[in-house]
Symmetry: C2
Subunit: 363 residues, 2 copies
């Protein structure tokens, strides 16, 4: 089916666009009262994922209500560890908790191949419903956690500021670490291909805990597995969002992905030089949407000016905070949608290297 | 009194040393069974701070037991907000909690000048006891939280991965934000001068939550207040440790501080160029101490090689994790103490600029 609004895919494919597309991480979320109603009906976060009709409903809400240029399937990166044998609970105001973890090679016997997983069927069914109901209005983003981030939860068992247990495994037991990382990677590829078969038009890989690793470990334990995923996904574009990986943008830039997500700590000007040929996604500080409307608009325009024309997908630098005013989120989206690139040339990779990638805001 | 071991101060003053000094953030802590015994006697973390004899005892333990080149007074950055009117509780396995927070200008009426604070007397008395008992063996480090980090806790009321409430204040209410930041700064200067009068030989300022701000906000809301502190402390050297502020090293480099602390995500090679004339402290990944002994030693030596000779205080890139094996911590300390610089020239600031600051490991 031809998409009526394919801005997002055109940027990912390196084609020209008249303005940047815009969507928001956690756009199907608590800042929308309509989401909270469905979430209340479902009873719990995990129940919402387990009911494809309701998951599809909240996936489409921000397209209808806020006018974003893409939907992202409502699910959770932690359905993947559950699909290979580690169940989790989502504890209100606390986050995920895994009653069992894996920390040694023999623990890995408890895991099973993803082929046996039925919990993923709910999300795959939700994708099919969304595709039907969107009826080509905007693209649908599928997603998974990056292997390192899934490794963090499977070993640590819960959220953490430092993930010191997960990091200890890398130093203490490289064999276990690479084995688990490989198992996660293989399952993730399988799952993402199923999402694409069900209708996902583009994939985002979330490396939410990239920022607890230094470059040395990121290069050894994260990049090779991201590379396997990017190499395996050939039918649709891939966005890699490694939150906090400021030190490894050049390594991410060498992956066979089309878009690199940036958090709000990274200054966009320096990035095109490190990752020639890529498009970028981000990166307004979500807290900037707490400001008054004048400042929100000014900061959104400032952000748009910092990215090279035609190579930018507008987004926040992290997920929307649940208590952000809906009007502020709407203003962000409208400001992007009212922005127009003047005439511009798409930059060739070599130009970016030679001229420092600094042809911004010239349009 | 002349110090018998003044390695730390010599590096901070830019003088030559035969090897890097070494101490560890959270060295007075749970990885030592002797600490846990005193902590159990005290009954709670806050009680331990409130009993100068016991606080002094745990402060000196790592000097006696591990052989570090400096003591750091056992206290908490949150004694400062308490001293100006916001009490906190330390909740086991959860962290600090402030029953009351300040979020608007009128809330600031609840705060009072630090001159009325008596809770600080315990830490000042502990400093006097430590100085007496150390009897010149090693220098004593005093410390405080940086204004931004204290602001985080006073507005958010507890730990957070994003400190989105604290950040929302900066965007929503610059007047409140600058007013509170000024109040914290003034109190911090007063408190640090009292610590120096009581005997602290050097000061470390911990900006533990620098990493939730981008450069723009860090420049406006953190740097000017750090600058006031650095300008006010003239009698002893100052170490500024802004965890996660990879984007602002050059701004920190312009402060009138002598040492810049680095977390484990920053690669040491690039830093001297950004902060000419400074010494650096850090930055082994604390999780590296979970590795086997051979790897710990190799990584410690690798770290030592990455810093310019004579301008490095060896430390971890963050506090010791409580479950790290004592033998691993000891090995880290011993590896540094057995390291010797060959003959070397201290680099002039201009040389660093001109030659790229890359004269490492030439000794």
């Amino acid at each position: 089916m031809t998409l009526q609004n394919d801005l997002l895919l055109r940027v990912a494919r390196g084609e020209k666009v008249e303005r940047p597309p815009v969507w928001l991480m956690r756009q199907a979320g608590r800042f929308l009262s309509e989401y909270r109603e469905v979430r209340a009906k479902a009873g719990s976060f995990k129940n919402l994922i387990a009911h494809p009709e309701m998951a599809a409903e909240v996936t489409i809400q921000p397209v209808d209500l806020i006018g974003v240029d893409a939907a992202i399937i409502f699910s959770d990166i932690l359905v993947l560890p559950e699909a290979i044998g580690l169940n989790y609970e989502m504890i209100e105001k606390k986050g995920p908790f895994f009653p069992e973890t894996v920390r040694t090679l023999s623990d890995l016997d408890r895991l099973h191949p993803i082929e046996d997983a039925s919990n993923l069927d709910d999300t795959l069914e939700a994708i099919r419903i969304v595709k039907r109901e969107l009826n080509g209005r905007v693209p649908l983003i599928g997603f998974a956690g990056a292997p390192w981030t899934i490794f963090c939860y499977m070993t640590e068992g819960q959220g953490s500021k430092t993930f010191s247990v997960a990091r200890s495994r890398l130093y203490q037991d490289p064999e276990f670490s690479h084995t688990l990382m490989s198992m996660i990677t293989e399952s993730t590829i399988h799952y993402l291909k199923q999402q694409i078969a069900a209708g996902a038009d583009i994939i985002q890989v979330f490396d939410s805990w990239a920022g607890v690793l230094g470059r040395d470990l990121y290069e050894v334990y994260a990049i090779p597995y991201l590379e396997q995923i990017c190499d395996a996904i050939t039918d649709v574009p891939v966005i890699v969002f490694s939150k906090g990986a400021f030190h490894s943008i050049d390594l991410i830039g060498q992956l066979d992905c089309q878009v690199i997500g940036l958090d709000w700590l990274i200054e966009p000007q320096a990035v095109p030089m490190l990752a020639p040929g890529k498009a970028f996604q981000g990166n307004l500080d979500p807290a900037a949407l707490y400001a008054d409307f004048e400042l929100i608009e000014a900061q959104t325009l400032h952000m748009l000016d910092q990215f090279p024309p035609g190579r930018h997908i507008a987004n926040l630098g992290h997920g929307i905070y649940p208590d952000l005013p809906r009007e502020a989120v709407q203003l962000f989206v409208n400001t992007v949608k009212n922005f127009t690139y003047g005439p511009y040339e798409l930059q060739e990779e070599d130009d970016l290297y030679q001229e420092g990638g600094l042809q911004f805001g010239e349009a």
